[in-house]
């Protein structure tokens, strides 16, 4: 699809034929299911899907049934980058031209799968790698991952008497991937759908290593009412917990900038996983977000967005996640 046409796409241009169909076993309101259903509509039938161990592998297909109406393969947890490389190599040998896509969770991408992701990106494989980021290992019952945000409760970052929730900030995966110089890199939100459509279309159209990163709220993992998935996804962007940008042809740009920065508490208060955060921790997270906001939107904001940040900005980052933010 040509560049101009992609620019103009909206939610109305999404085909309504499903390639991820009804009958799957995701929790009601599952962000992963919403993302995958829509991504598959856009990718269409000339697609081969690889899913590593994750919620999606369990709810997406169980012998002898499948919700994927395209070829589907699974083999392990940490090898998405490698398996899709192999499948694509086979297609090239056979002179066939399907899109090979890996649909991996955050654990399978940020942590255990990072090496295979890096290998595939480094080789410039002609594949689409998609990270469905629900910010924890959900399939095994909500354990902390490199994607889990600061202060969040998970079963391996419990709210203890001494230590309360995750103590590190979310790993900056997109910069790691960007360092590989991929053909296309973009972050997606299921609540900003026009932006979502354009980015998936662009990823579909471009050749080379493409990386899409979508924030996918998880009802039991984030502990919220299942009707609020999109609201939470939207608030993630409005508070700076999730930023929408894309990077290709040596250029990186923000694709959606909230008009004002909402306080992070607007996002936190809807989710049980943050319900035990101390005031100090909320402030720490807010300061970190302010810095991020400034980094992401600096060309588009005149003054630093929050007072808190303004007062403390002179501190340099010294590697300790709690200093210099």
């Amino acid at each position: 699809m040509r560049e101009k046409e992609v620019e103009k796409l909206t939610i109305r241009d999404v085909p309504n034929k499903d390639y991820f169909i009804w009958g799957h076993g995701a929790c009601p309101g599952c962000g992963v299911a919403i993302a995958v259903k829509n991504i598959m509509r856009i990718l269409g039938p000339e697609t081969i899907v690889y899913v590593p161990a994750s919620c999606l592998v369990v709810f997406g297909a169980q012998y002898p049934f499948s919700s994927f109406d395209v070829p589907y393969f699974f083999s392990a947890f940490e090898n998405t980058g490698a398996v899709i490389s192999g499948i694509k190599a086979a297609l090239r040998r056979k002179g066939k031209n399907a899109l090979v896509v890996g649909l991996a969770g955050d654990g399978g991408t940020y942590d255990i799968g990072l090496q295979a992701l890096s290998g595939a990106a480094d080789r410039g494989e002609d594949v689409l790698y998609l990270c469905l980021d629900n910010e924890a290992y959900m399939n095994t019952g909500i354990q902390m991952s490199g994607a889990t945000p600061f202060g969040a409760w998970t079963t391996t970052s419990p709210i203890g008497k001494k230590i309360k929730g995750k103590r590190r900030f979310k790993k900056d995966l997109d910069h790691i991937v960007a360092a590989h110089d991929p053909a296309y890199l973009a972050t997606l939100s299921i609540a900003h759908f026009n932006d979502f459509v354009r980015k998936v279309e662009r990823a579909k159209a471009i050749a080379g290593f493409r990386f899409l990163h979508v924030l996918t709220p998880c009802v039991p993992g984030w502990k919220y009412e299942s009707s609020r998935t999109l609201e939470i996804a939207r608030l993630a962007v409005e508070t700076g917990m999730w930023t929408l940008f894309e990077s290709y042809e040596n250029e990186s740009r923000v694709t959606y900038k909230p008009s004002v920065m909402q306080p992070v508490t607007e996002y936190l208060k809807l989710q049980g996983r943050f319900s035990n955060m101390t005031e100090e921790d909320v402030n720490t997270l807010q300061r970190w977000l302010c810095m991020k906001w400034w980094i992401h939107y600096k060309d588009q904001v005149e003054a630093p967005p929050c007072r808190m940040f303004e007062a403390e900005r002179p501190l340099a980052h010294d590697g300790d996640p709690l200093h210099g933010v």
Binding site: Q62, A76, G86
Partner: protein, 389 residues
Amino acid sequence: MVVKVISADHAVAWAVRLAKVEVIPAFPITPQTLIMELLAEFINDGELDAEFIAAESEHSVMSVAIGASVGGVRTFTASSSQGLALMHEMLYVPPQVRLPIVMVNVNRSLGAAAGIWLEHNDSMPERESGWLQCYVEDNQEALDMVLQAYRIAEDERVMLPLMVCLDGFVLSHTVERVEVPGQEEVDYFLPRFRPCVTLDPSEPQLINPIVPPDYAMEMRYQLDRAIDASRRVIAEVDELFGRTFGRRYGGLLQTYKMEDAEYALLSLGTVTTTARAVVDELRSRGEKAGLIKLRFMRPFPEKELKEVTKDLRSLGVFDRSLSMNGFGPVFTEVRGALSSSGIALSDHIGGLGGRDVTLEHIREIYSDIALGKAVQDGANWYGLRRRRK
């Protein structure tokens, strides 16, 4: 056909080239490296039309191989030791998905008390993975077996991955006279790969989803039966290979002077050559000694073994690896197969960590077997600085 003086690693690379393999993921590890280096040269010189994928680890190597094979093309890789161990998780995928990947494992010791030298304890644990597994004796057999491996693995009655094991350094880095067959002969022997299932949008298939208890056990059963069914195919392919190239290896096992033997040694890999020389010595003195070269650990040739050992008084097993706590894995399998035979069975361990196995060791082993003592509480060790007997 041309004659070359090459290492077993290079013989393997020639076989892969002749087999017209299409995708070759690789990661370096000694003593396997020579295989991949030569294949990379073949490809970069335009002599082999294949894709070389320099993966970032062996885990990814096997993952790429799985992707390529399920994508429907002939796939090869090679590894050793730590590399094979890193693949362990992925080795369990091709058998159950029925992907006929061929891999050469150049045997090398694994783990601490580290070394790069020959031992079979890297590949032995993987006999539980569902891969067919065979051990070769010399460089010619290394080449021939890779060709046979594709023919066996891709037979529609089999459709299983096959691991060809060869002794590190003793073969991998030692040059020998090797007959390299011509392309036409190989094309005749080895038809193009025709996958049973493959990922293709024109015919969407669900391959290897999660399998609930209602079906998984049947799938394990089918895999087990497919491994068993490969016994016949292995024998047939060896016959056909013999008719095409004039060399036969005996399929699952090969016997030497077993017709009237009273006692024998069972060996695998390069020790067989040493043992053959000792059998000749013993025979020239009128001793009724024999030799069984075990070629396949999977499928394990239980029936064939019973048949060739039926008149023996005693049988010794040579193990170049150890299942810690007494015996070697080959002995344990042989004892299982011959438990009701009444033959005195004994285990003889040597050559661990790359230690040489000399003629003298093998002579000692044969004289121990000749005594006909069944060993109950552990194996005999040969070449130890202080020998336990």
